[in-house]
Symmetry: C2
């Protein structure tokens, strides 16, 4: 993770931006996450243990991380952006439980290959993709018909 922080700082330097204390703390917290964080979530993690880092700065730093190519932003339909490391991006997609909201990652090279084929056939050049499957996870599939889920979960490994 040290490496990514360094990459970020190099990016800042190259872009003529400053490596501030806040940016380092936010980036560090971001790289420490295991899955998908919202700006708000990262803010709570950082703000908890550090002196007054504003939510606004978290948003701005996440945008920098995106520009640096170190973060990807996703939208899983709940209206807000969730961020994840760019490096963990390699060949993985998401399956989201519509009941409890749990997000599981998976990878499929076969699917990726097919995507490439299709895209080429349509004259597009692919940059990236999002594949999201929605359904019931094992647990929720068992307990059918049970109130509103929405338990944000976050299952830290």
């Amino acid at each position: 993770m040290k490496a990514k922080l360094l990459q970020f700082q190099q990016y800042l330097h190259r872009a003529g931006l400053k490596a501030t204390r806040q940016r380092e703390l936010i980036a560090r917290a971001f790289f420490a996450t295991t899955t998908h964080v919202s700006a708000e979530g990262l803010y709570r993690q950082v703000g908890g243990r550090n002196p007054r880092i504003g939510l606004v700065t978290v948003y701005r730093t996440l945008k920098l991380l995106k520009n640096a190519g170190l973060a990807h932003e996703r939208q899983f339909g709940d209206g807000r952006g969730l961020f994840e490391h760019a490096s963990s991006e390699r060949h993985h997609d998401h399956i989201i439980c519509t009941e409890c909201g749990k997000i599981t990652e998976f990878a499929s090279c076969e699917i990726e290959a097919l995507q490439e084929q299709i895209v080429r056939r349509l004259g597009f050049s692919i940059q990236y993709h999002k594949l999201e499957l929605y359904g019931l996870c094992r647990d929720c599939g068992a307990n059918v018909s049970r109130g509103p889920g929405k338990v944000s979960a976050i299952v830290a490994g």
Copy 2:
């Protein structure tokens, strides 16, 4: 398209809701769309030719259409919801040009089959999926390096 309107009205009846003039007009306009509409967009189409139909009612009716299983809401990352017919939903996904925003639809049964496999392997039962490919379309791929702001680039080597 008549059929879908009827389905909607049947849904309303079944749910003890009323088939109002506004709902019919909005549903009609929605079924007349060919691709993806935002609430705002549908509002403009309807509002233009009809007496005072509020944006709020469009939102509410789109929600009803979703509940009726006649519409699907998608989020392509620009922050707002886009709606499309559920019936055109059969086996198709999207490829979005990151340059001009053009959305093209495509279908792949092979990919769908693979998805099913994966999902089952993970213990999930699939309800629906979203596959979005992002890249440059033929036109934009030709005129490289032209974009407006958007050029995040800088990809750390």
